[in-house]
Subunit: 492 residues, 2 copies
Amino acid sequence: MKSIKAAGVIGAGVIGSGWVARLLLNGIDVFVYDPSKEAPKYVNKVIDNAERAYNKLLTSNLPKKGKLLFSASISEVAKSCELIIEAVPERLSIKQSAYEEIESSADKNLVIASSTSGILPSDLQAKMKHPERLLVAHPFNPVYLLPLVEIVGGSKTSKNVIEETSKKFTNIGMFPLHIKKEIPAFIADRLLESVWREALWLVNDDIATTEEIDDAIRYGFGLRWAQMGLFETYRLAGGEAGMRHFISQFGPCLEWPWTHLMDVPEFTDELIEKVSSQSDHQSGQFSIDELTEKRDDNLVDFLKVLKDNQWGAGNSLKEFDESLSGSINKIEFSELNLSSPILTYVSKVPKEWADYNGHMTEARYLECFSEATTEMMSIIGADEEYILNIGSYFTVETHIRHLDEVQIGESIKAKTQVIFGENKKLHLFHWLNHEDGRLLATAEHMLIHVDLKTRGASMPNDLVLKRMGLVYEAHKKLPKPEGINRAVGDKF
Amino acid sequence: MKSIKAAGVIGAGVIGSGWVARLLLNGIDVFVYDPSKEAPKYVNKVIDNAERAYNKLLTSNLPKKGKLLFSASISEVAKSCELIIEAVPERLSIKQSAYEEIESSADKNLVIASSTSGILPSDLQAKMKHPERLLVAHPFNPVYLLPLVEIVGGSKTSKNVIEETSKKFTNIGMFPLHIKKEIPAFIADRLLESVWREALWLVNDDIATTEEIDDAIRYGFGLRWAQMGLFETYRLAGGEAGMRHFISQFGPCLEWPWTHLMDVPEFTDELIEKVSSQSDHQSGQFSIDELTEKRDDNLVDFLKVLKDNQWGAGNSLKEFDESLSGSINKIEFSELNLSSPILTYVSKVPKEWADYNGHMTEARYLECFSEATTEMMSIIGADEEYILNIGSYFTVETHIRHLDEVQIGESIKAKTQVIFGENKKLHLFHWLNHEDGRLLATAEHMLIHVDLKTRGASMPNDLVLKRMGLVYEAHKKLPKPEGINRAVGDKF
């Protein structure tokens, strides 16, 4: 959505507000319409939650936050933007009258994306003047964190609208899943619906409480589904013989009377009371805010795990984070300014780097410096490929001065001076600064070049020797850093 | 299962082998019976996978691995152990004849736990001599990683057997969920069955491929279910008004024709072929071994996230890991031996501490030393409570010598000497050693006591001053550590 400057969101409930937060934090101005007086308060709360989560989720800095504007009417929104997300209640007539109001004011190129969880796009667009502009974009709560958005076109939706809008969702970190055939409830909600129904029977018949059912999910198959879904998991359960074996073994169970498929539970007051009071018993010790925070923390950490493991939803995060990241020294070596220490590290302090007080723990200072060393190695030619094929630098000695504190989410950067660089030896000095300028720590490292096969000291290749020499020649003209050559306990 | 020395496993397929691995790595001897000649090879492979995963999952050392013994018959197994896990094919007659053979040789106190995914325990125990000894203990693949085990008793099962066996499962890191009413397929498989059926329809009707369905799960609600399950998630979707609001809003959708509830898909050759070939297309680029490794890595990391966040399945892991951990200095200060450096850190190198070569990265050395510092602080009285209420020690300066390498899963420990300890100053020297004795690194730290409110230097309280003095008095008689007082680049 890089090209979009402004989007509109009609309806600011749980889903609408989640959209607002995701759009806004991606630098897009958002016009919101919701008739409720409480809407601005709730929207701002969801934005706060999203900012809190993104600060932990992303290593890159987000673009400047978009402007949040509450509009007095749907048509006011429609006049101001290129894309409208519709998130009004799930009734066809309410949605259709919203589209009518939008179309009365909008440019014909405006695209309308409905967040409906189940109504067919062909029905949604039935009465529209320009039905080709409508598609379903069904997201999942919390919209600012979960990547999935189901994309469904109706019989009159333009292919181009589907393609272009999908790209825009990818640009704001989402995973658009294009569902080719229209079907009520699309894919995910059909699956959820079947589980929900079965679960309600289990509660209704006193087989299990809501808590026991949740535990049966989250201590078991829920952990599998966060990464592989249903079919890939079963492929593994089939062992070496894979899916064919699994089906031949377990397929017949389908005909066993294991589910309440033939019945629909009636929503009596008694059942509603049972589910609600069990849910209170299960989760009532946490406020909704506390549960939201816990959920978001877990989601953030799952997504980061998957990003590190290059799997599933982590791939969406990886692409998104990389698309945001500013480049450090993405220029040629020859264009590098060697007349001052070199920028070698830029990041934000992630959540897991902090102690219980929210301050970065001491070991993470060395992690920053280690990254800065890696960048300096890369600059002189000892990059990833070199490390895989030729050799590397091993740190043999480190000295750190801890000078000031930094908190989660704050931005930090490091610069580096080469103190000595000849033959097998590389002596570096790093400064780590807060974005506000404060010097947080310094580090001094002695590194030795090693051959990765023998893991013993060895000479770098010619390119590395040459570049290291050039940086060293330039940097030895710089003043000697304050705090160099100290032993622990020396007088300041 | 601390009290159990030997268990038996009848049937060594995917589930049986998973049980074998979990039992064995908990120090329990396991007698296995499986008629297949391939069984030993497969069981050993699953054990390898489990060891690989546990090395990454646990910070504590596992007990000495149990003995793996393949038995020639079911009755041989039955003679040798106190608990038998039955994991033979899902046919009542096969299971019943296994129980008959077990009962012909077993002591009457032997407990039989069936891994059935759906057969009622009352049916399983119908023909048994001692039906009170049978219960269902339904685990989830991979059994060595997923904590859930559904515990279901039949009409004749002894309450005592249910309670005692559940405790044994808790002791080996599992989460026994006692299901009070018998129902075919219990809880989890009823939910899975309903989703599986719906998913097969979606494939059958060409609405979505297996990959699209898996993506709809793992980019969306699967991430929620790994932590909260169904009801708690929906409680949040209801916003502040919680579950009652959610039900009143979404309950009526249950009556919409959103699922194929009324039909059962027929397992035609065509459908089997469609599912299998789509699954090949989706996942065929990975071997089953590769997929298993990826799945286990993700599960390990999810469980660790949940442990850190003190949530759901992470709580089972936390208890399990803590129950394994050896105690460091759990004795009174007065009983501590001060005549040599003090043991301050014992751990195994976790997966995420390693570089792509499997070696511990440089920043993690400081993390070990930081933990050792924390333990030394705790020894002299600056423990968690002190830090929360009075003050703490901040590291102002660090010197590290990197002397040798260590790999993922290897055990390491640190000991600490107090070099100076008076008033606000604490000067420490740590040695980090491999379990094989090699010295991996040393660290020297200057710490200053600070008041947590002003975050400025301050005096420790009397207890800390006194204990620090006692350790310092004793340690200053020790030889000065080799490598102390170095600046980076000093000649060795």
